[in-house]
């Protein structure tokens, strides 16, 4: 028992306020000890005792306690040993129970050992012999622990719980008063101030007062002071505060205790995020209480210890006392203190974490922004790359054209360059393109269409057999010469045959080769042009027939069907002639012409097509032709070199005639005859004419597949001129005479481009475009009109047109438009390289493969550029200033139509970039050559 009070008691020797007080203290101290040692409280019995015991302890003298007979049995037992001490030896009893020597001063000498204690208590057994004996007997002599444990032993097991609960009751009143003080010096202060349990209720607690005073002391302002607002106080430097101020005012140096105390009085820590973010949280503490305000001493009364929390009360059941509820409360109370402390720490931690998280999220959002910026830049960069690619392609093409031009001229003057003649290659390239159309077409998703067209073309050719008689008369012989000749030079096996019949048949085969390709460009069988596209081949047939009778014809047919097939004789002769050609310098220019012939060949049919129903008149012409000896002579002559030159010259003639026949059949025939004569006379030396044609063909863009263009115009003159331009540009042309016609054609077949007049009878171009856009949103439609006011342009664009080609347009303007909107059909001019190696047998396989790879690569590049272009159809038009326009394939989107000036401006940008890798290196151009080419190109473009 006495051991219980040992700590408080011994620590406050000066506090001997009086017997009752001391007793009181002892009591609850003992209870405290009992409680702590006894472990879990027994709640059921608390209520009764709570009510009674505290009061007894507080106000009643010990005898009162003794006078309570009705108390549970164990109570007397328990108190009995103590009572004598209280009454008989008030101090002694306690003193004896204490281990401290201090107290023993006015007491009997107190044994320090437990055994002595036991001995000392031995006499009291007189008061309660039974119990004490038991207790005594049980107590282990060597135990140093407080004696209160011993009573526990003395009780029967069943009683133990009650007993332990009783002790707390006794001390509860005082202890609750001292909540939070135990073990602290502050406790003493408070107790002293309160003068006991009742003191707390009146006036301000000492702790609060001290705190208030401390804050008023300005000398501490750097360490602890009121906050600016005065409704809280701040410990600015925890370390200093703990070291210097706490000891002075509170007689301890435990900051945590101080904080706990504050918590007891319902002070709250004030969070200051800024401070937390900037300085050590540990150093600055701010506390706040609603009634703890600078200069308001009167409010201090309201600053009290917190009441026990609700859940403690709940545990107490009906216990109305707001003080202590039960022994169980003590544990939670301590836990609460610790919890509060930890709670503060956690709160601080959370605040820190929150701040950190804020920072992080801010940082992340920054990163996100930067990332988006980077992405945007990458997109821009990508777009620029595409633009650059297209520019480069244009440059390459332009340069190749220039180069071709130069070489042709050179070859026409100087003879030896035949083998190097770019045109043979070019022609071969065309063939290769044809062969590898699949590649390009697959890229553009046109494969199926092409194959369809090929099939159609072959059908057409077959059906054309009959027509060939009539049409073939149109100087077809000349055509056939020219076309085949070009081919023969290109495709080594098929050169000139010695016999006319062979010759023509071979030519036919060649034409057969050619025609499918050219036919592939023809949009639909329904169009007249497609049939006429065959004219070259067809025209040869009549010749063969006329000359070589029906045999020749059958040969031709077979040849036609199986182009590659050649008789040995033929092949021999072919080789011979091929050798001739190679050896003969004069052919060089012609070979160059051969390339043109090819393009003209594809074009020619369409021209015929534009002239409707030429059949009847052409029949006459054909007959006249056939009978004319001049042709025959030519043909015979044709075996040798000179006629070869002749023939290309004839080619265009034939074109002209077919068209002219439509309008004025009779005079045309005459004119043709005249022309023939003239031609023949010119043939021997006709380099100039070749040159001319070469020049014209230099404009031809390098289409991977001839673009199918629908030309819509009601004006025959314009229509014819435009068709001519388009032919020259290597387009497959279909024509419509008004809007209705155009819409119908659009529904029936696919086109790559539509050139549409605006003012037309029946259905104007704008309305037609609107109609077309309902089922075909993609095909570029370009308005050709002389009405180009802004309002008109808006109307055109809003109807779905992609661009405007003001009338009267120039060839360049048209070409720009074509290239702008048909860039996806263009091939890289590297193809021209192919023939160089292939033109002369034998062909090296490696080079061929190399070329093929390059072709595939370029096709792929085209495909990708096209794709990306369409993806970004933002209307950022690209054309370059030098007349080689490059356009987005994305013209499909109506919005991509842009003002021409803008396009021109945009286009100039990439030109300025000097750091361009030489893309022609693979073609054998040195960097110097490339740069000079670029420079000349730029010069030409800017003029």
């Amino acid at each position: 028992m006495s051991g219980r009070q040992s700590q408080p008691w011994s620590q406050q020797p000066p506090n001997g306020a009086g017997g009752s007080t001391s007793t009181h203290n002892n009591t609850w101290q003992a209870g405290n000890g009992a409680w702590t040692s006894s472990g879990p409280p027994r709640q059921p019995q608390q209520p009764q005792q709570q009510q009674q015991q505290p009061q007894a302890n507080q106000f009643a003298p010990n005898p009162v306690q003794q006078q309570r007979p009705p108390q549970p049995m164990y109570a007397p037992q328990h108190q009995q040993p103590r009572d004598p001490v209280a009454t008989g030896f008030p101090q002694q009893g306690f003193g004896a129970s204490q281990h401290e020597r201090q107290l023993s001063g006015h007491q009997q000498p107190v044994p320090q050992q437990q055994q002595q204690l036991n001995n000392q208590f031995a006499p009291p057994p007189a008061f309660a012999p039974g119990t004490f004996r038991e207790w005594h007997g049980h107590a282990p002599p060597s135990v140093l622990t407080p004696t209160y444990e011993q009573p526990q032993f003395s009780f029967p097991p069943g009683m133990q719980g009650q007993f332990t609960s009783q002790h707390p009751n006794q001390m509860r009143g005082g202890h609750s008063q001292n909540d939070g003080y135990s073990g602290m010096k502050g406790e003493d202060d408070d107790k002293g101030a309160g003068g006991g349990p009742g003191g707390q209720k009146q006036g301000t607690s000492d702790f609060v007062k001290k705190l208030f005073t401390m804050l008023d002391d300005l000398s501490y302002s750097s360490i602890v002071s009121w906050s600016h607002t005065g409704d809280s106080f701040v410990v600015r430097n925890m370390n200093d505060f703990t070291k210097h101020i706490l000891p002075r005012h509170f007689r301890h140096s435990n900051f945590a205790s101080f904080v706990r105390q504050l918590n007891k009085y319902d002070f709250h820590k004030v969070k200051n995020p800024e401070e937390q973010a900037t300085q050590s949280v540990d150093q600055v503490w701010e506390f706040k209480h609603p009634d703890f305000i600078r200069g308001r001493e009167d409010l201090l009364e309201n600053v009290r210890r917190k009441l026990p929390s609700g859940k403690k009360k709940g545990g107490a059941g009906g216990g109305g006392d707001d003080r202590d509820l039960s022994p169980t409360m003590l544990n939670p109370a301590e836990a609460a203190e610790r919890g509060a402390e930890e709670y503060q720490q956690l709160k601080d931690q959370i605040a820190t974490l929150t701040a950190a998280q804020d920072q992080m999220s801010g940082h992340i959002s920054n990163l996100t922004k930067q990332y988006q910026g980077v992405i945007g830049e990458m997109l821009t960069f990508q777009r620029n790359m595409v633009q650059q690619d297209q520019l480069m392609q244009n440059l390459i093409q332009y340069l190749m054209n220039l180069e071709n031009d130069r070489k042709v001229e050179a070859s026409s003057v100087a003879s030896g360059a035949l083998a190097d003649g770019p045109f043979v290659p070019a022609q071969e390239a065309q063939k290769l393109i044809g062969n590898y159309q699949d590649v390009a077409e697959a890229t553009f998703g046109q494969m199926s269409q092409i194959s369809q067209r090929v099939a159609q073309s072959s059908n057409d050719e077959a059906t054309r057999g009959n027509d060939s008689y009539s049409k073939g008369g149109n100087g077809g012989g000349h055509d056939s010469y020219s076309t085949p000749s070009g081919q023969s030079t290109v495709a080594s096996p098929t050169s000139q045959a010695s016999r006319v019949s062979r010759h023509s048949s071979i030519r036919q085969s060649m034409a057969g080769n050619l025609s499918p390709k050219s036919m592939a460009t023809v949009p639909s069988p329904a169009t007249v042009p497609s049939q006429s596209a065959l004219t070259p081949a067809v025209s040869e047939r009549p010749q063969g027939i006329l000359r070589n009778n029906s045999d020749g014809k059958s040969d031709e047919m077979s040849m036609f069907l199986h182009p590659p097939h050649l008789d040995d004789d033929e092949s021999n002769t072919l080789f011979n002639t091929a050798a001739n050609i190679v050896d003969n310098p004069s052919l060089a220019g012609f070979e160059g012409a051969g390339l043109r012939v090819f393009t003209v060949g594809t074009l020619q049919p369409r021209e015929g097509s534009s002239a409707d129903g030429a059949g009847g008149s052409s029949l006459n012409a054909a007959l006249g032709r056939a009978t004319s000896e001049g042709n025959g002579e030519k043909q015979d002559y044709g075996i040798s070199v000179p006629p070869l030159e002749d023939l290309p010259a004839d080619m265009p003639k034939v074109d002209q005639r077919t068209t002219s026949t439509t309008t004025t059949p009779a005079p045309d025939d005459d004119g043709d005859e005249d022309a023939d004569g003239r031609r023949r006379s010119l043939t021997p030396s006709d380099p100039g004419s070749n040159m001319l044609r070469v020049r014209r063909s230099t404009y031809v863009p390098g289409w991977a597949v001839p673009p199918r263009v629908l030309l819509v115009d009601d004006d025959a003159v314009c229509r014819k001129l435009s068709s001519k331009f388009l032919q020259v540009f290597g387009c497959a042309i279909d024509v419509a005479v008004d809007g209705v016609n155009a819409v119908n054609k659009m529904t029936m077949s696919d086109y790559d481009l539509v050139l549409c007049d605006i003012v037309m009878p029946n259905l104007d171009g704008v309305t037609a475009t609107s109609l077309i856009r309902q089922f075909d949103p993609r095909t570029p439609i370009i308005s050709m009109t002389s009405n180009t006011s802004p309002d008109d342009l808006l109307t055109y664009m809003s109807s779905g047109m992609n661009d405007v080609l003001p009338k009267p347009f120039t060839k360049e303007g048209l070409l720009n438009m074509l290239e702008k909107h048909l860039i996806h059909l263009k091939t890289v001019q590297k193809m021209d390289q192919i023939p160089k190696q292939l033109g002369l047998p034998p062909v090296s396989k490696e080079t061929l493969e190399g070329v093929l790879q390059a072709t595939a690569a370029s096709a792929a590049a085209l495909g990708t550029s096209g794709a990306s272009g369409s993806g970004s159809g933002s209307g950022a038009g690209k054309g370059n200033g030098n007349g080689e326009s490059s356009g987005w394939p994305s013209s499909s989107s109506p919005g991509s139509g842009k003002a021409l000036p803008a396009a021109a401006m945009m286009g100039n940008g990439p030109n300025d970039n000097p750091n361009v890798v030489n893309p022609l290196a693979a073609m054998g151009f040195s960097d110097e050559e490339y740069i000079s080419m670029i420079q000349s190109l730029l010069a030409a473009g800017t003029v």
Binding site: D655, Q656, S660, T664, L692, D714, D715, V728, S786, P808
Partner: protein, 160 residues
């Protein structure tokens, strides 16, 4: 490119007998482009175009006369636009300008297409303009026929 055009056109005119076209009547930029489409040793293509134009112009003039008689200004405007296109394509600039004026007049605008005019005014002006256009056209036709040489004269019969 322009250099080549010049080559072609000059070469062509040489072949055609050196007759130069008066630039005030024929816009050589446009017409040269047309000639450029020709083959090296004749002008069949351009000639056909031009002859075609002659036909078209005469037909249109007839229609215009009729429309004027009917006071059908809308039709006149349409016809003016139509002939404007073809004449522009060939490069017959004066006819082109006249037709453009007629196009505007037909819409009851003044020649420049700026101000509104009354129908009477329009008809009056159209009459005068049509006359001018025909005159200019005749000059151009003569020049063009000359350019293509007298040998084609038989086709000239179509024009009237």
């Amino acid at each position: 490119m322009s250099a080549k055009e010049v080559d072609v056109s000059s070469g062509a005119s040489d072949e055609a007998g050196g007759s130069m076209l008066p630039p005030e009547i024929i816009d050589m930029d446009t017409f040269g482009q047309l000639l450029e489409m020709d083959d090296e040793d004749d002008h069949e293509f351009s000639k056909e175009i031009v002859w075609n134009f002659f036909d078209q112009a005469n037909t249109t003039f007839d229609k215009m006369d009729q429309a004027l008689k009917d006071e059908d200004l809308a039709e006149l405007s349409t016809l003016g636009h139509f002939l404007k296109g073809s004449s522009a394509a060939v490069g017959v600039i004066r006819v082109r300008d006249g037709c453009e004026a007629m196009q505007h007049l037909g819409k009851l605008h003044d020649e420049a297409g700026v101000m509104d005019i009354t129908k009477e005014e329009a008809l009056e002006k159209v009459q005068k303009t049509l006359k001018d256009v025909k005159t200019n056209y005749s000059k151009a036709e003569v020049a063009l026929r000359q350019f293509y040489g007298g040998g084609d004269g038989e086709e000239g019969g179509d024009e009237k």
